[in-house]
Symmetry: C2
Subunit: 309 residues, 2 copies
Amino acid sequence: MQQVEVLMRCQGADCHPDLRAALEHLLEAGGKRIRPTLGLLTGRMLGAPHERLITLAAAVELLHTATLVHDDLIDGALLRRGIQTLNAQWSPPATVLTGDFVFARAAKLAAETDHLPLMKLFAETLAVIVNGELTQLFAARGVASRENYYKRIYAKTASLIEMTTRAAAMISPMDEAVVEAMRLFGYHLGMAFQIVDDVLDFTGEQAEVGKPVGSDLLQGLVTLPTLYYVDEHPEAPGVQALLAGRYLLERGKMETLVQAIRESDATRLALGEAQDYIDRALQHLSSIPKRAERQALEDLAHYIVNRRI
Amino acid sequence: MQQVEVLMRCQGADCHPDLRAALEHLLEAGGKRIRPTLGLLTGRMLGAPHERLITLAAAVELLHTATLVHDDLIDGALLRRGIQTLNAQWSPPATVLTGDFVFARAAKLAAETDHLPLMKLFAETLAVIVNGELTQLFAARGVASRENYYKRIYAKTASLIEMTTRAAAMISPMDEAVVEAMRLFGYHLGMAFQIVDDVLDFTGEQAEVGKPVGSDLLQGLVTLPTLYYVDEHPEAPGVQALLAGRYLLERGKMETLVQAIRESDATRLALGEAQDYIDRALQHLSSIPKRAERQALEDLAHYIVNRRI
């Protein structure tokens, strides 16, 4: 992981000093580095060549970082994980371009894996992520549809995690069946990861999550806990306001709805669904011979569903 | 070229309808398609495989389009070539994401050329372009430095044109010497292209260029005609205001300076330098056996330096 950090940081070496500082800031801000960790563990488990694996892990994390830069700009978010976002300090133009630069570097690292199918997968995944963000931007709010929800969290989160474990398997001396098993492992893990995030948006404390409790719902964005609640309480005043698209106009009702969801069974049901995804992820992993890295991947899977923030 | 157009347009096929409409709008807005034309002619001249060449040409033009989307957003430009920019109609978030989407599609097409060195070159060129834009954003204005100017126009324009002719040669059954000759052809052509653009910013009529005459200079951005003028007239009041970084405060003097440059020898001298670049470009082309495409490339080179807009 340290080699991955070094490789990510040296991407700004030949750049304008302000850009270098921005990259440094973005990487300092950290995050849990779930994606490169997943990639490294998967690749080591399957015998991926070391250098190539480090390059892949850095490419994945930089791609993730680039999408966060543009996301925060779009949301006007000033904090992420308690640290100032780039757009809190920089002008929008500088933020747009810094995101572009991090994309460019991610693409360059991906190319340096010297693996064409991986390059294609990388570009396709970027298109899926961006198309998902655009769909979310354009989509009518206040829509309670599971199909819509699963599509959204796939584009937003699961697609990149799926790509990570799949790509790590692709650069390993493994047959198609293993690559597919690792893709499915990543897919299910990624879906669980986002569901847990969506549950934490309700159950977390504002100080921990860094956003108001129920922030998605207050903006009309329906996630899994809300879907469960709507099924059980279609007549609740907050649900009516939400489905009528009046979530901004009837803020009081929406805040009551957030509280009701917190106190209901909905978050437990959603977490149960996340646990189901984790179980399916682990099933796909079970075809791989047991090694230290497999155990670490299992631990990571359990962590994802049990984490607090 | 028609196949390139079709390939570019079908990139939005599986996307949100609004995104598809945006892509359509961007491609309708057109432009001269200099880059794909250059790529197609170079590749056909050198025997590049047809499908791969079409894919490369579409990738290059989409990369160019993506940088324009973010550029126009950054500059707050509302018109390009007399047609509304995306950001004139869309919110900044939608514009950022549409640019990202076009990047993603360009990267995907580049990957579909199935040529790793080309993929790397593609990613590196994107990094050069974005680093150049960031440098321009951060750089102190009112700096009259040739070194600075050449670096800037390389990053802004020549790097992508250089990449285009080089990449078209790379996918052709040609040796390194030909690839290098075509790289140098593109490099010199690209430098000339931007110098002519910078001259037209002074000599063009506002209605044609779609911007006020001397718009770069009025924003403190020093291009080649200004560099020539500053050499000859270091004491002119406008030059003093410019070099002191007072271009915004002393608008009257700056407008006088624009007029003075228009009426001076500076634009002719700058055009002469563009012609020198074109001559060097043609020298590199002269090592290639004469074919119809070579003649067309020569014509394109002459057009670049003689065009009116």
